[in-house]
Point group: C2
Chain length 80, copies 2
């Protein structure tokens, strides 16, 4: 059993309204030192597969088909 963490973020240049909202909220709470907030999501999952190579291949398929939107998002992943 392998543990995988997949990180999905907006591509550089894509507007991030959620990040902007968090930045404004932090400023209004007095955290004036905060700049350039960008939000992302991550998924942790277990894979019942025999090899790391197989896991990498399958995770790439999952990202392409469901987990990331290639038009606006990048992804990376770690396998343990």
């Amino acid at each position: 059993m392998m543990r995988v963490t997949i990180f999905v973020s907006l591509k550089e240049g894509v507007l991030d309204p959620q990040g902007k909202a968090v930045e404004r909220s932090l400023h209004s709470l007095g955290f004036a030192e905060v700049q350039e907030v960008r939000m992302g999501k991550y998924m942790e999952l277990s894979l019942n597969l025999p090899s790391r190579e197989e896991a990498e291949k399958r995770v790439r398929e999952m990202c392409a088909r469901l987990l990331a939107n290639p038009v606006i998002e990048d992804y990376r992943f770690e396998i343990e």
Copy 2:
């Protein structure tokens, strides 16, 4: 200027309906090897602060006041 990444996840034992929905979708796409999907979010931000110690203190304050809900969420962060 310091770069900080803050990871926010649901505490163990807290139901994760988004993770469950992703798990079901992956199964219906044929990824039967997937188990125990948990979703989290992360934030990347820049901090205009002079020291790492100061940054750690301020990030903890941000998490306590806005970024994480201590009842159901845990957080951790990395400073570069």
